[in-house]
């Protein structure tokens, strides 16, 4: 049992309910205000210093470029919500980036084989959802710790990707891909529109429906949720399948964005994890939420874009992300300690 006993609780106040009641709200509000302020300051700074930053076209571009990362992070958010605050024994899906890569390959191969976009879209979404279903079975039915089972699934998925592509880029073009990559509405690229619509739909489900509330209940106190009669196992399974679907969708978006598949889809993994975890600081109770994840995705997008416009090396971005996550979590932890 002691793999489960390893305590890797995310150090966010909701991790232990009694403490959160004493000192949580003030600390959380300070931090949330602080992180929104940082977002606003960064935005203002780039607006003032970087040419063309604050133009409708540029902001639309950033939203479009963030689509793949954003959709994947939304998928991971669902898993984090139903898995609770403990990263190791709780929910995590490390197969998401590889999932998007393989779904993209399936899409491109179906198009190359001469089938229509509808078939390709179905194929990609089915691939993603199937991978999610495998994760769900591994976690819920077999009972393997998610961190491990999704690593194993990631290996298999990335391997199948390599076998299918021989590690080359498969180009793809079709009507839908052209529409996604070059179409736009109100100067927001079509990719960005898909991202926004999907984020709104996911947010409505997760934050405003009984299903969403049940997912939170499952993650935060599984025993209580079980006692209250919730189908905890089915809800957990649902989150992995839904995340898999997000992987499929992200795959389609990435084919459109790159006009083909990518050999480096696995590199997306850690950015997705950081984006979803960083998103918690934009929520009132410091839990994963869809709006928080979207803000965190856009924040990273604006950072990359601003750095590029200022001719700063974009290699600094991952450092800034790392520093941010450490600063934010340190601040949460230290604030909480002081108030207890």
């Amino acid at each position: 049992m002691s793999v489960e006993a390893i305590d890797l609780t995310l150090d966010l106040p909701q991790a232990d309910a009694p403490k959160a009641q004493n000192g949580g709200p003030l600390a959380a509000n300070l931090l949330r205000a602080g992180s929104l302020l940082v977002f606003a300051l960064v935005f203002l700074f780039f607006s003032a210093t970087a040419p063309f930053f604050l133009t409708v076209g540029n902001i639309g571009n950033v939203i479009g470029q963030s689509a793949v990362l954003g959709v994947l992070s939304i998928g991971l958010t669902l898993v984090l919500v139903s898995g609770g605050p403990n990263v190791v024994t709780g929910g995590i899906d490390l197969s998401l980036a590889a999932n998007a890569g393989l779904s993209a390959v399936v899409y491109a191969l179906i198009i190359q084989a001469g089938y229509s976009d509808a078939v390709a879209i179905l194929g990609a979404l089915a691939t993603g959802t199937a991978i999610g279903a495998v994760n769900a079975i591994a976690v819920v039915v077999i009972g393997i710790v998610p961190l491990l089972s999704t690593i194993a699934v990631m290996n298999v998925v990335a391997g199948v990707d390599l076998v299918l592509t021989q590690n080359t880029v498969i180009p793809a073009s079709s009507d839908v891909l052209t529409l996604l990559s070059s179409g736009s509405l109100f100067t927001i690229p079509a990719l960005g529109i898909v991202f926004i619509l999907f984020a709104i739909a996911a947010a409505l489900v997760l934050q405003f429906t009984p299903l969403g509330l049940r997912l939170y209940a499952t993650g935060e106190f599984p025993e209580a949720a079980k006692a209250a009669g919730l189908p905890v196992r089915r809800l957990t399974a649902f989150s992995y399948v839904a995340a898999g679907f997000c992987g499929g969708l992200a795959g389609i978006l990435s084919v459109a964005y790159l006009s083909g598949t990518s050999t480096g889809s696995g590199e997306m993994l850690l950015p997705v994890v950081v984006t979803a975890l960083l998103g918690t600081i934009f929520s009132r109770r410091l839990v994963p939420t869809i709006p928080g994840t979207v803000l965190s995705t856009l924040f990273v997008g604006f950072l990359v874009n601003g750095f590029q416009l200022l001719n700063l090396s974009s290699t600094l971005v991952s450092g800034v992300q790392g520093l941010l996550i450490l600063l934010v979590v340190s601040a949460t932890t230290l604030l909480r300690k002081e108030e207890i």
Binding site: L8, N155, G159, P222, L326
Partner: protein, 330 residues
Amino acid sequence: MSEFATVSPAGSPPRIRNFPSLAPRLALPLATIAVFAAFSVVSPAFLVPTNVLSILTNNFALQAIIALAMTLAVTSGGIDLSVGTAVDFASFAFVTLVLAGQPVPVAAVAGLGAGLVVGLFNGFLIAVIGISPFLATLGTLFIGRSIQQQLTNGGNPVYLPQTGIPDAFRFLGHGSLFGVPVTLAVAVLLLALFGLYLGRSSFGRTIIAIGTQPVVSRFSGLRVARTVTIAYGLAALVAAIAGILLTATVSVYIPNSGNAFLLNAIGATFIGTTLSPLRRPNIPGTALGVLLLAIVANGLLLSGLNFYWQQVGTGLLIFAVLAFSFLRGR
């Protein structure tokens, strides 16, 4: 979930296990033997001394050292996602100083120091500030990535010229001690050393106690913060040794290449936990986990299967071992 073990859901009595069954513990050794036997039959080139040595030297040694580092962190109750960062930092410092004409021992010590910095930074974040290990080391990984790209002009490899490589450097990478390649000898030595150290020394037992029962350890007066910091420092130091050996073997430093070892290190460590009756991380288990992965990687290659099938095979095998162990272990 164990904190809720006493709260039994309505209707079902709490499950009591007197004897952990042996079957789940056998999954890993049996899988290793089975895979070894299968490849010996399938591929004539597999079971020959040179190939077995090659498995141990090329597939096993470095990954085992890095998995050992991971096991140290997991034993202390955490996880270290930045083992690859320590590998890279050590590699960079080592190559840079050798290029600058410093003697190899000096460069090696500097490499170890550079790796140690990563570990102490992690230890500070986890033990002093109290950030969860997953997030702290993820942050370190991202910062480390940026630093390396800054240092190398966006990620350009640093090559050592083929001529004028110091003998000591060549010895680390390609030499042998009493007929055993240096990398393998170092790996086995480190595994044995830490295997004894964790199980037998009072400090090792303190790390295990903190990993198993952090709260009880604190109330028992163990110096938790200091021990955890040292554990992450040791993990990074061990990873740094792998970084130096890696560089000496390939004569080049490639920025952020250490992360390639990360997922296998996590996989091997946690597959290794199936060897212990209490599912604790343990060094023999980790070593066996790495050995299994090494055999599969080498065997699949020799069986004439496409290179890319390796990853599928490895993934399926990890999955099978985990599934068997978790299904039987419930």
